[in-house]
Symmetry: D2
Subunit: 330 residues, 4 copies
């Protein structure tokens, strides 16, 4: 996990929020102050920088509060004198993670600026325990930016997993898909501008006289945009809920287009709270919940019994999932 600290490519968008031009980011990064608060140099290194995601998206760390030591400090408030003997911070953090003591992790907070396609934003917003300020298409005009998948991401509906994608497309099929997505998005966006009367040049038909037409209310015109149009928001959450987000969205079953955001945020987590990030990997991300029946199967196997699906009491699907976890043939 490593975060590219190098400057992101220039962002030519004229409509973006006021702090995302390269010049503004450089200016913000140049200003420093002295503080008594916990400070994480590896986070300061990337503060405000755009970490690119997908074709036009990004994640920027706008602010953070706390560090690994702040988790320990909060835990020690709870345990007070009783924890004198837990001498190592890492040990305490791993203990908290293992035993689902979640409140000390809520004592750290992070604020991100994210640019993302609307259909991804609609998944993301389902995580309710966060603060959000989204770019408003009632007030403002959306940028001419929409997500188009890379050819190797164009894939068929999975037959095994009703909500996922399966085999990739042939190059020419993929190109055809991408072309169609592009054409529809561009046409809808051009018509959006025409409805707003913001685009003097091209009327969709010859009779329309742009100059005199009233611009349609923005809150109405926006409905003509496609779901791959990019939006952006400030998103702020605590460390516990951030990890819950990562657990669901960095998972292989998550849709690729949100997973790549989760992966960039997982890199940020590693910079921010390295001890917590490692405990999170060991006890959450790469851990498994084994059911009552699954534990019974494991115990019988360890006792030397040759258990098969029939004898396990599990459904075929659960059995397959368990064998995959145990690295054994199903």
């Amino acid at each position: 996990m490593s975060v590219p600290a190098a400057p992101a490519p220039p962002n030519a968008s004229p409509n973006g929020s006021p702090d995302t031009s390269d010049a503004e980011i450089a200016e913000a990064r140049a200003a420093t102050a002295t503080t008594r608060r916990p400070t994480v140099p590896a986070m300061e290194d990337i503060l405000f920088q755009r970490l690119p995601v997908l074709d036009h998206g990004f994640v920027r760390v706008v602010d953070y509060m706390g560090d690994d030591a702040a988790v320990v400090q909060a835990a020690r408030v709870s345990y007070g004198r009783g924890t004198k003997q837990v001498s190592q911070d890492a040990g305490l953090i791993r203990y908290l993670m293992r035993h689902w003591h979640t409140t000390p992790f809520e004592m750290c907070e992070i604020k991100l600026h994210v640019k993302l396609p609307i259909f991804v934003a609609r998944q993301w917003i389902r995580h309710r325990t966060a603060n959000v300020n989204e770019y408003s298409a009632r007030y403002s005009i959306m940028d001419r930016e929409f997500y188009l998948p890379e050819p190797d991401q164009v894939a068929a509906q999975s037959s095994a997993n009703r909500q996922g994608r399966g085999d990739g497309f042939q190059p020419d099929e993929a190109a055809q898909v991408i072309d169609l997505l592009r054409q529809d998005a561009e046409r809808c966006y051009a018509d959006y501008l025409w409805l707003l009367n913001e685009d003097e040049g091209e009327a969709p038909d010859a009779d329309a006289a742009g100059a005199d037409r009233p611009g349609l209310a923005r809150e109405l015109a926006r409905m003509n945009l496609t779901l791959n149009t990019y939006t952006q928001w400030y998103w702020k959450t605590d460390l516990h809920n951030l990890m819950h987000f990562l657990r669901l969205r960095a998972d292989p079953h998550a849709q690729y287009e949100i997973r790549v955001y989760a992966e960039v945020i997982a890199d940020i987590l590693q910079r921010w709270v390295p001890i917590t990030a490692e405990a999170f990997r060991d006890y959450r991300l790469e851990a498994e919940q084994i059911s009552r029946t699954g534990l019974d199967v494991i115990r019988r196997m360890l006792a030397g019994e040759a258990v098969d699906q029939k004898a396990s009491g599990m459904s075929a699907r659960e059995w397959r999932e368990l064998m995959a976890v145990l690295g054994r043939p199903a």
Copy 2:
């Protein structure tokens, strides 16, 4: 405020959730049981029925918990012996509302099934204190239904209110707008079906051979839909948060397309908890927050002073807003 109890028009959609065909609704309504729980006959009358909103949307009450008496009952737990003398339920409910004692209102709960355009859903979901199950376009195919405004709702961007709509369009201009919205939505939907390979008939260009093409993953194809496509969800919230939703969304400044949902829900509120609904109107919906300076202006006026904006210490905008509330010329 009255809710049409008559059956809603038939819904021919083949893809909707399993309980929204007319036959299924009639079957669900025919099944009754005996209960000891608080029951509101006016809610039973409309239970499960589609209350139409916009061109294809609806609100259906799927379940409810509690009534006006349940608010009183919860308040009496708090106040116990101390409230012996507050003899009337209505008086207690009005007292709670006036003094922002919100927790007794959280003791009632409602569950709605709502069909709504995606751009409305994106506003709605910002109310985080609710439970939501939305139709998933990763699993399922979206219906061919999109919102198109009525001609009298097609209006220009407001010059006074940066997020609202102003003057209506001329009929021919409105018709042109609606046509454009329809064409883009229909083309995007047709291409969506083509991408899914669900529509054998019409390929977007002659070379495409539908039968052999793989269907694009649903989670990808959906990005081609426009934001006026209808989605649907189950939405469950408590009475306190329902009123907070109504306070923001039944407000004249709310966008028309969400306000009409709020108005139908306000009618449901009236059926469900009529005493609470009246107190809500008196102390929230039709009440006003008057600022420190505004109170000072009122006091001076009542004392006979001729206060104008200059003497008020208010900005021109605040002065206008205050005079509007007081029913006086600005």
Copy 3:
């Protein structure tokens, strides 16, 4: 798991909330209505009845919304046409539980009336995703009821577990502890009444003339009560958060005095949503989270390797915990 449906013993408390006398409960239970809402006969059987907990506490189901079928119904909204083949409700509920699809479980709601010692209430309230109306000692006078442990619950501080209890006390030691707790609680309560000037009889010293003294403000007098004094509240939460509560509080590591409440609520869960309750037991309560390292150990053992703690890469404590789960000697 079975819930005693028999009537609870009479509650003579004169100060309780207005619906907990035996007569009021009987009256409430006698009133029935017809409803179209989902109804669970096994819940109706116990509705409003006090299910006793500890020496003076209870849990009463005051209302509920939804049932197992409501979970399925909400899930089908999400999955729509895509789930045609998941034919069985139980299979779908188990799938949701196994894969942490939590939102359908949020579509059911329950409202309980609970009487509990204040120190238990302080643990319980940490579950923030619930609605609460607590008896207010600012308004009302607290009952003369405090929790005293049974002799077999009087135990020493655990040496192994810094937050738990270890060996039981000898009978005479236990009796001494209980006597001391009783004396302090009774004296504090008597002085509380004296401060309120509610108890004309006994002044703490001979000079005090009860009749003429002003009663101390209730909000102040209450500070003299001990933490084992009973309070009561209405507590309302959704099924998902109820199970989260049970997972933490029905756990053997939870303090006995809250665990007994969790056990009564687990019985209620079984009555209310038996399919969900069984899935909850299999995939949560009696399941285990196995860490990345733990999975590695299991895989190596299954492959025939003789792994010991040293070779496992685990701390001694984690190794012990894993061996306990696997039913093997540490």
Copy 4:
């Protein structure tokens, strides 16, 4: 509103959380770092210092995120290009406050360390939208510190306000109350230590041999403490919810013992976000919600009508409240 920046008095408590001794605070304050994050010098001045409240309580700012400019920055993400003309930050913040646009205020966060009596903590915890780590009496031994009111705070139950206090006590009556509270708290605490077998010296009766007795489990012994015993916690919340807390708890109707905490936090607010704090005073703290009927009364009065209670359509109590707001005789 001003915050004493001078060092707080020494805190001799041996059991407190690890960072509250004078030496530890001085050490933490001496360590500084360079940061690119928004920094508020007036907050740095008081960081980590104990701001005393009541007889043994305090509030310490442990960390903060954001400032007035961060509110503006988040609002500008929402409004983007559409807000070009709102040139002044103060104007925008006041606009947001006036029109209940609350999400930009959620973008700032504060973390406090608070020491407070348990009965105050029980009120405070009702604000659910916060993160909390409380000192655990299951793990640790509580300090010998309990709240005793100042003589001028000892007052009778109010006859007008069922939840408040009325006339003060005579000095000798007040002294008697305080003595009784002290005696009960001290006896309960001494018995608590005896139960824990932590106090070798004084057994409550001569027969008890301290050395050989087992110490009662801490989770049990704590129930013997009175509700004025001090506890402590880390409490973290966002600026919006902090103001909601202040609005309810800095109110004259709030109990004195929580109001003094709110007042210290209001001073911190003034240091942290002075523009927001002023807008909060003008549009929330010193503003009033005027009901539909109240607005009607004001309009009629301003039109020259002589309205009295009878003609107002208001209850006597509401009329009194309105006349008080308008500074007129009831």
